[in-house]
């Protein structure tokens, strides 16, 4: 008797590969630019600077992505060790420590790219653009690279108000003006550094292209509501980097790539094909950043019939048409397109009735129990994996509270998996897998609870 080889548990999307390859091109492009004497900046992932830099003709490379690439290829550890030897505390962000180690190695090599660097490496920057968005300690990371590079650091400041404070009268307009002026100061700095003027038309293109990419990504995610879920989370993580890191630099190609991905996912939905080659036993959401060094671990979960149908990080915003006709200043248009009134985005996302409830919760308690849980309900999630990261406080601090809210509001349980974005030694896959097995009983239990309460899944 012969047995056919069992297919791998994850059913990869073909359209993902082209998108993933675009990210590698970022590094090739960076090195090429550097060799030709064109400006290269190291940039952090955030909502504002990327499109501006690309509109100014600056090649952007992203140490955060580069660190995850090093982790995925298993070469991050020597950089982490070097960072430790440089005297950086070991609890600091794994992305940052990889980058510190890389920078220190570059100094050792007289500014040359280390030969062991994957994907051609990151060339020496002429500028470091830091941000505190999502993670405020990042301000300090690029500043602390001062001992390695002659590049100046610009730090983009953006508002991060409390929820209730964001609803205060006048707060929104103040934040918009803050952003406009802040970004204009950044542009003035760039003009001085590069000795050329900002190309505002180009900004409409680089900034606008991202919206189109987000629209396709949104549509793809909408398709993922289907049962079985047509796209696995590994494909999500592999493709999302193209949107995040190449969207502003190469909007047309990336848009096309996601359009193709949409077609492929749509095709799967039409034919009832899942993102995993096993029966979909559980639908899950992944909260937090993934273990870039061990994405293969998702294969083992898929083997158990776990289908991650949605993620919390980098979820694209709902596409909406914003009337910008009364704003002529290009920077104001750029800011207003992206920075929305909380009330407006809640209403678009939840509908007027539920948005009203959420706003009442916020006004009363300063927090909302319901806010940010909509995807769990929409995607009929059975369980949530909370990835608590040893070196990332910004994405980890709120996860335990989320665990309570998920259970309180939606009767959806969650499994805490401890690990790290970069440091493979913080992750114990055997233990995580054992806990996953036990967690299935918990998910089964809450299925019954939800049923008893008359909830739709």
């Amino acid at each position: 008797m012969t047995t056919e080889a069992k297919p791998r548990a994850l059913n990869r999307l073909q359209s993902m590969y082209a998108l993933r390859a675009e990210v590698d091109k970022m590094y090739e492009g960076g090195v090429e630019a550097s060799e030709e004497g064109r400006p290269v900046a190291w940039v952090m992932l955030e909502g504002w600077s990327n499109a501006i830099l690309n509109a100014m003709g600056v090649n952007t490379v992203f140490p955060e992505n580069y660190s995850s690439l090093c982790a995925a290829q298993g070469v991050a550890t020597p950089f982490l060790e070097r960072s430790e030897a440089e005297g950086y505390p070991t609890h600091l962000c794994g992305y940052a420590r990889t980058c510190v180690g890389y920078s220190s190695r570059m100094v050792e090599l007289d500014g040359k790219i280390p030969p062991e660097a994957p994907a051609g490496g990151m060339p020496k920057p002429i500028l470091l653009v830091a941000s505190g968005e999502v993670c405020d300690a990042r301000f300090k990371w690029f500043q602390s690279l001062g001992r390695f590079f002659d590049a100046p650091v610009w730090t983009i400041e953006s508002p991060y108000p409390g929820l209730r404070e964001r609803l205060t009268e006048g707060a929104h307009e103040r934040n918009v003006n803050f952003l406009i002026n802040e970004l204009k100061a950044f542009v003035a700095f760039l003009e001085k550094l590069l000795g050329k003027k900002m190309d505002w038309d180009a900004l409409e293109h680089t900034g606008g292209g991202t919206n189109e990419i987000n629209r396709w990504r949104w549509e793809i995610n909408e398709l993922r509501k289907a049962r079985p879920g047509p796209m696995n989370t590994r494909d999500f993580w592999s493709a999302v980097t193209a949107a995040l890191f190449r969207g502003a630099a190469n909007p047309d190609v990336i848009t096309k790539g996601f359009e193709r991905m949409y077609d492929e996912v749509k095709e799967r939905v039409n034919n009832g094909i899942a993102g995993i080659n096993r029966p979909e036993k559980y639908r899950l959401s992944f909260e937090g950043l993934p273990p870039w060094h061990s994405l293969g671990f998702l294969e083992q979960l898929a083997e158990r019939g776990w289908n991650f149908v949605i993620e919390s990080a980098y979820r694209p915003p709902r596409p909406i048409t914003i009337d910008l006709s009364k704003y002529s200043d290009p920077m104001e248009r750029y800011v207003r397109r992206r920075y929305r009134r909380l009330e407006d985005s809640l209403e678009e996302d939840y509908g007027p009735e539920e948005a009203g409830l959420i706003i009442d919760e916020i006004l009363c308690d300063g927090v909302s129990r319901r806010m940010g849980l909509r995807h769990i309900r929409d995607y009929q999630v059975d369980g949530v994996v909370l990835h608590v990261l040893l070196t990332c406080r910004s994405t980890s601090a709120g996860l335990n509270l989320l665990q309570h809210r998920l259970l309180d509001v939606l009767k959806v349980p969650s499994l805490v998996i401890e690990g790290d974005i970069i440091d493979v030694s913080a992750f114990n896959p055997a233990e995580a897998l054992r806990n996953a097995e036990t967690f299935e009983e918990t998910m089964d239990h809450y299925r019954k609870v939800r049923k008893e309460l008359g909830m739709p899944w």
Binding site: E81, R82, E84, A85, E86, S425, A426, A430, E431
Partner: protein, 283 residues
């Protein structure tokens, strides 16, 4: 008063060491006791035994310097000084050109930057069993091996495995997994040694390694770790004949230097009340 003998006692977490030296820095007696938790307080016994070996009484000792984890609890010591300074001094007495000393003991690992027996800078590991002698103890016990055999076993390795976990418990799981997958014992042990050596090498990188590098502490008796450390540092590693004693010898020598300096300044030597009693470890 005639100055003749100086004692150093190094009350470590797993070993208690006493060394008595004479005015020419010659070792008259040295005693090493394995002092498990319950015996830790019996520092006086180790002292008594050393005195007996050297055929001396406690009153013949001009100065007793205590060092190590339990240094503040030795009732018959005249002064305490950290094991960091003592190791630096002790190691230089064996290898005068030492620039970097690595000491891996039962409970922690240290790296010392040193010159002419003086401590210039140091790094210490966090409180964690991984990367210390305790790590090897736990794993050898789990595998039913004698800890002193690990070194020789590992030398037979042709293809060491990688042990990536930084936690002792996880590493133990990893070891068991490797063995159940059929990896030869020597390759697994060599992997463990590499993990310990790698950890220490990373730690001392902060001090910018320069030869001579000297390796001391209980773990330095393991030839497998010595070899792995040389590989990780990329330079030869010297090990004294009795790697456990550098702290106690350093303490005795620093005691002598302390006395000489005081005398040179025309001061009388301040010695403590000598009570050859149990150390009051657990108050």
């Amino acid at each position: 008063m005639v100055l003749i003998y100086f004692a150093g006692i190094d009350l470590g977490s797993t070993m208690t060491k006493v060394v008595i030296v004479d005015e020419d820095d010659q070792t008259k007696a040295s005693v090493v006791y394995h002092t498990g938790a319950e015996h830790r307080r019996l520092a006086n016994r180790v002292m008594e035994e050393s005195l007996a070996k050297a055929n001396l009484s406690i009153d013949d000792i001009s100065f007793v310097m205590a060092t190590g984890y339990g240094r503040i609890n030795v009732p018959f010591a005249d002064r305490q000084i950290t094991e960091l300074s003592c190791h630096a001094r002790g190691v230089a007495s064996f290898f005068p050109h030492v620039r970097l000393a690595i000491d891996i003991g039962g409970q922690d690992a240290k790296g010392l930057k040193t010159r002419d027996g003086k401590l210039l800078d140091f790094v210490m590991s966090d409180k964690c069993a991984a990367g210390t002698g305790r790590f090897l103890e736990v794993i050898s016990a789990a595998l039913g091996l004698k800890i002193e055999d690990l070194g020789d076993i590992s030398l037979r390795s042709t293809q060491k495995v990688s042990v990536s976990s930084t936690c002792t418990v996880f590493a133990q799981q990893e070891v068991v997994n490797h063995l159940s997958e059929g990896v030869p014992l020597e390759d697994v042990i060599a992997g463990l040694h590499d993990a310990i050596a790698g950890r220490s090498a990373r730690m001392v990188n902060r001090l910018k390694v320069e030869p001579d590098v000297v390796f001391t502490g209980g773990v330095a008796k393991n030839v497998g770790v010595v070899k792995a450390l040389e590989e990780n540092l990329g330079c030869p590693v010297l090990v004294p004949e009795e790697p456990l004693l550098s702290g106690a010898i350093g303490a005795a020598l620093l005691g002598k230097e302390h006395v000489l300096k005081a005398l040179a300044r025309g001061e009388t030597i301040q010695t403590g009340k000598r009570r050859l009693e149990e150390a009051t470890f657990f108050k």
